[in-house]
């Protein structure tokens, strides 16, 4: 599959059968882990979790900005070359396929508007003002989200990995707050009931076993993050050096109605966590987050970029299984069943 994608480009229709098989296999193995909520492993997000929806648009150029990773490599984004801005491949099309195979609730991940806002170049595009682009972006994102909700996604997760990156590139917080504003404009278009099914994911990035913003203090991010009008937050925690500190920040800034899913396995760590390790991390988190609002997750996707082979599928499912088992152990210990 990887070789075929590398050879023909990810959008070749001839790959459809392979993608379908990958999705079916992923869902089968995911459900086998015992996880109560599954995903399709984002098999069809070519090239990555960030640009999946705009990949192949004729009004883009591959010379967008670069995301620098700690391992020394960068990932270059697409650049918008002209208006209007439209999604080519919204995530709900992936959900259609996943729901055909899934027997358990499916969570669908989508990219945040703030991440895609970075496609508009430094210089104004003639005839397509930046304000119009923002409007188009919000509309496209809202449409994608609404379709996912309507089609039956158990949850929709907005990937907000650039939040922590924003703090890194603009320590003043101005950029972060601008991102929060943009995402909140989109979230405000949904009802309270819908927003309870919408979550936001934050992490320091994870590509080729390295991060883009692990050095950014969560203390600079989380207070603003919890201002997002979402019902759930998927916070990478397993890879953090001082989890207690992060948990304290969460405890301090979390809103009453917000559920927090803490990361208990780290995809960038090649080692598979033991269930006991996971259990202890959950018990640790339970000291700071009320049980009814505490959940567990993986710190990040296991392969956010399609050419990342640093984590094998076996390892990924082993880590997920460890998360599920560890969480169960913790629940038993906590008497939460």
């Amino acid at each position: 599959m990887i070789e075929a994608v590398a050879a023909s480009g990810g959008l070749d229709p001839r790959l459809d059968a392979l993608y379908e098989e990958a999705i079916r296999d992923t869902i089968e193995r995911f459900e086998a882990t015992g996880s109560p909520v599954i995903t399709d492993g984002e098999q069809r997000k070519y090239h990555n979790f960030w640009t999946y929806c705009v990949q192949g648009l004729p009004n883009t150029a591959p010379d967008g900005f670069k995301i620098p990773f700690s391992a020394g490599h960068t990932r270059r984004m697409l650049r918008l070359t002209s208006g209007p801005f439209r999604y080519k491949q919204p995530a709900d099309t992936y959900l259609d396929v996943a729901l055909r195979y899934a027997r358990k609730p499916v969570k669908q991940a989508v990219i945040s508007p703030s991440a895609l806002s970075l496609m508009y170049p430094d210089d104004e595009i003639p005839g397509y003002p930046r304000e119009q682009f923002i409007e188009d972006l919000l509309r496209e994102h809202e449409t994608e989200m609404r379709r996912c909700l309507e089609k039956g996604a158990h949850n929709v997760q907005i990937d907000f990995t650039e939040g922590r990156l924003a703090v890194k590139i603009d320590p003043s917080g101005r950029l972060l707050h601008s991102f929060i504003d943009l995402n909140n404009i989109a979230l405000s278009r949904f009802s309270e009931v819908d927003r309870r099914r919408i979550g936001v994911h934050t992490c320091p990035g994870g590509d080729l076993d390295s991060t883009h913003s692990a050095d950014v203090d969560y203390a600079d991010l989380l207070p603003a993050l919890f201002a997002l009008k979402a019902g759930s937050f998927y916070v990478a925690l397993a890879g953090e050096k001082d989890r207690i500190r992060v948990l304290k920040i969460i405890r301090e800034h979390r809103r009453r109605h917000q559920r927090v899913f803490v990361g208990v396995v780290a995809p960038i760590d090649p080692r598979v966590e033991t269930p006991e390790e996971v259990r202890d991390r959950v018990l640790e988190a339970a000291d700071y987050i009320p049980l009814e609002q505490l959940g567990t997750t993986d710190d990040c996707g296991f392969s956010p970029f399609c050419d990342d082979t640093s984590t094998s599928r076996d390892t990924a499912f082993a880590k997920i299984r460890a998360r599920v088992l560890g969480t169960a152990l913790a629940a038993e210990r906590l008497g939460a069943g």
Partner: protein, 663 residues
Amino acid sequence: MAFDDEEERLRSVALQNVNAILLARERAERELAAERERLRITLASIGDAVISTDALGRVQYLNAVAEALTGWTQAEAAGRPLPDVFHIVNEYTRHPADNPALLALRKGMVAGLANHTVLIARDGTERPIDDSAAPMLDESGVAVGVVLVFRDVTERRGAEEAQARLAAIVESSQDAIISKSLRGIIRTWNAGAERLFGYTAEEAIGQPITLLIPPERLDEEEMILDRIARGERIEHYETVRVAKDGRRLHISLTVSPVRDAEGRVIGASKVGRDVTGRKEAEEALREADRRKDEFLALLAHELRSPLAPLRNGLQVMRLASGDANLVAMTRDMMDRQLSHLVRLIDDLLDIARISSNKMDLRRSRVLLADVVSSAMETARPALEAVGHELTVALPPEPILLDADFTRLAQVFGNLLNNSAKYTERGGHIWLRATRDGDQVVVRVEDTGIGIPASALPHVFDMFSQGDRFIERSTGGLGIGLALVKGLVEMHGGTVEAASLGQGKGSTFTVRLPVLQDRAASAREEPAVDWPDSAAGSKRRILVVDDSPDSASSMAMMLQLLGNETRTARDGIEAVAVAEQFRPRVILMDIGMPRLDGYAATRRIREQPWGRDMAVIALTGWGQEVDRLKSREAGCDGHLVKPINWPDLEKLLRELEGGSSNDP
């Protein structure tokens, strides 16, 4: 690699968007503000009152309607506990009502008012209200306030009460009140309809109205619906409908169109009144009228019948005056016919008196045996004429009655005559009397033609079919038995008719109360026989009558009896002739031209020569009031035409034996 350059480029790109995002946010906020304003305007514009509170139940917002109903302004109410502003009590108990807003706040769910809640405004005005309260939930589902919506339901309550009153009227109406669709399907059905037609509302509603219409009248429904669809009203339409048990009912219908709010005819309301009783009464009246007409025709016939032989008799006497036997036979025949005519008229007058309660009984202590004997005398000619055998059986002991001898004799005479008439020649008639406690039971039984069972209930009715059936067979007015019944009842008794059917004879049973005292007995004196010669004392008699024939025939008769007579044609002439003639007796007609009999009598009495004359009123008017009037005018006696000679003779003897002014 220019790591710093890439980061700087990223920063630059990102920050370039900040302003655009800010503008987008401002636009979103403006839209939100505009939406809130629209909401505010909406709340201010809607007809219902709206109050919102914070999480502690303190008033935050009132719309204009809420201000009007509570009497609090937004500025005055803001921050006050809701019960201060929204003061509600139970309409009947006056106890504070559960505040739905606080309930909604507490339970986090929509709550409504209990029934009969009254809002007391700041100025004390009370209004019945309807309301509901919904909590405002934050993102976590926690109630952060409540929205209370309420409305004044005074008008609606009034309308509901009016509707309830109307419904009660409809339900309590004796008339059937039914509504139906334009397709003739019954929609409503009141208790009156159930009483009238027998169907319950459950049975009738949803059924076609043709349920009540007889097959031969189904066309009516099409006509009614047609007119209703045109918006016409049908009033007092009299028709026939069928009840559940199959009875045919005469119904008066008033059908009105029922219209919807836009005035379109959507159905019809029918008010049906049972007029079966009225119809039957009308039918009975028509029947009575028809019988009256028949009777009048019969009366004319019966009155005319004796006239022919009378006229023939006169002719015979004129032609055969020399044949004393023939004249005597003719005279007897004329006497019988005249008696028949008199009896007819007497019966008519008697029945009229009984009907109008104007008959007076001259009660005295009489013996049943005497009464029966008198009745037999009366009936004898009829019995003998057809060869009937009469058997009479009376109790051995005397039966004393408090009765009018003549009238009671008339009762049994009529019954015997009746049996004589309706029994074939050579029949047998029994009159049996027995004592039954304090009553005497007199049965008159015959072997006659009997009475059909269907006629028995009507046999004592005047001019009844049963009676007519009988009377027609032998002639007569058919009032004899009615007279019997009236007279018996006036005596406190009863009379019944029985028959085993046509051809099986009849039995009439009279029950009368018996007087206990047997010591005394009384009876009317038997009638005086006809004078057959001029045996009486010779008198000077003035006959006054405006009918020359009546006057001259009377005078002729009196002369034949040996009296000296004069005649006068009216009151004035009577006074003049009386003065000259100085009669001993004046037979004074009453209804006359120029001067009537009363006035003439008064004038005569005013004269010295007239004070001792015996003035006897001789008139067709025989009621008590007529006798009184003649007495007041100065008459010494009162006789009813045609004159009964024995009565006249008796009266004259009395006058001659006593005071001339005191007969």
